[in-house]
Amino acid sequence: MSFNKLLSEKKPAILKKWFDAILDTYPAETADFLKKQKDRFANPVGSTIYSGMDSLLNSLLNADDPDTISKYLDDIVRIRAVQDFTPSQSLAFVFKLKDAVREEMSGESNAGDFPGELIAFERRVDALALTAFDIYMKCREKIYDLKANELRNMTVKLVERANLIFEARYRDIDLKDLVLEGNKSERGE
């Protein structure tokens, strides 16, 4: 049996171990809820993390392209990036996949047959961790962006008026066009 085939067979058990590992970072009663409530709208955190992990495992097995992998990772990291964790705590779950795989493989008689494949797989997990770090940073930057944008949106007419007075004084521009332009630039066009 090939390494990938073995991994595919073990996937449900690996996924369970991996999911349990991330649940451990939440308070016990919450972990229980995140695990049991299957309705994705009643349990956005648990279901997003679970389906993200499931898809990530599939992607690793299928050697999907980095963009696809990024998308699934993004779903999980985006949540962890605003929760009560330090950056390392947020992202440690990625490495937990290695533990889950090794633990599941260890019981297999032919597990020792693929040292090269196992290392290659773990390298992919390491790459996943680096991608997770990039996503994490983007999420954090976004939070700071939101703060700045919101303040600007909140007072748009007031700022616009101040700009209009300035522009009207110094340039010969049709005010109406300027208002529409102002609206467009607010939307970042």
Binding site: R40, N43, I79, V156, K157
Partner: protein, 537 residues
Amino acid sequence: MAKFTAKPKDLIQIDFKNPKTGWMDTPVEIREHMFCHPAKAKELETVGFPNIHEWRPQDENWNLPEGWKETVLNGIKERLQKYRSFHVFMDICVRCGACADKCHFYLGTGDPKNMPVLRAELLRSIYRKYFTASGKILGKTAGARELTEDVLKEIWYYYYQCTECRRCSVFCPYGIDQAEITMIGRELTNLLGLQLGWIGGPVANCYMKGNHLGLEPHTIKSNIEMMLDDIETITGIRINPTFNRKGAEILFVTPSGDLFAMPGIYTAMGYLMLFHELGLDYTWSTYASEGGNFGFFSSNEMAKRLNSKIYAEAKRLGVKWVLGGECGHMWRVLHQYMDTWNGPADFLEVPKSPITGTVFDNAKSAKMTHISEFTADLIKHGKLKLDKSRNDHLKVTFHDSCNTARGMGMFEEPRYIIKNVCNHFYEMPENTIREKTFCCGSGTGLNASENMELRMRGGLPRANAVKYVHEQHGVNMLANVCAIDRATLSASMDYWVPGVGVAGISELVGNALVMEGEKERTADLRGETLPGKEGAE
């Protein structure tokens, strides 16, 4: 993100596990990005809040006023006598847990103290200790505990992580309403001068100038003038609304966010266009220039004081009835409190649409009607000429605001309007809309920027449902009837579901409204070129 203070040895420790302790034995940790800054002394002085002092939530010492414990306990006692609901809510919870996983803050933070039942327990434990025989004798066994400074901090921290949205109450077999318990909890913190800047500031501005940002009459007028310029550019029609006009039939009151904030201004443009097209005999007021009421997030008395200007202005101007714009908590106040606080407004008439003749009996006593009720009635009677295709670039879903949904039971009117002005409308999943709607995550004065993480966590359940319709149907516009939603959901979408905009329903109406004498529309109210009209003009 937790404050990054990990020591080098912690950095390699990836086996982070949460400690397992009971809630009473888990001390509160006031975390950065989860709370709002305190109010400024000047703001609190303006409205005469007690015990104003310097303090910061993250500090060990909150400089609590002398005798603070008695103040809180007396405050509880007084409120137990005054509000029967509060007394009942303190007694009857059977801890069945039905509410536990229904709060958006619990779902997003995973913090058990954000379970509504535990949030209530934070205060209930004090009630038991000082106001029940079993609690006095049995203490912790009876779920009672001493009121200490840490306990007070805990109540403060978690009562400003509740948006009083009432979702939990929908699931409680006893109808226990955490929103009301939170209101009382916040009143208690206010007795000690522990107000938030984001609430204290708007309250003071509203008291002095009539609206949250403290806009003066000339600023209000010139902001509206600029919208009129935009409307003229888009439609070719110059609108001339009136301000503070005595003898108008209708007084129009809307949240001030519609006057200066993005994307609320497009909603306001929609109002202006609709009223012009109807030839409505109405007036804006630069005094009753705020429908919203942040006093409601401080105390009952403060809310009542700030609300009084609406009837006062209606009386001064001699109007017949009051029409209100798109807002959430504003309607909770108008619908459930205004009449008993500042009524009866017997100098007003029962609202009657001058266009259709419909009498809004549901507002028989309060004399104020919601713009969505008014507009839906116009559409029902075929009084508006609408070109739905002008919203064809939008795939719309509707977010029920907590207050208009659970606070006044308005579910159908907004949907009816959307379906009549848009061709593409998609509902979010059933357990996230109507009476089960998820809060935007930033209501009740929590829409500051320093607590953005809290807001994103609380906003996740709503955003998660939007993401679903975005992926399933390509939804790109989240419609709503609330000024706070328009501001806060914009941030939430930006983080959770990029590519989805936020709009008030009256904006969509304005897009579709065919106005007498208008030029061919090539852009929507945002100045965006309509599909197929590129190069036109």
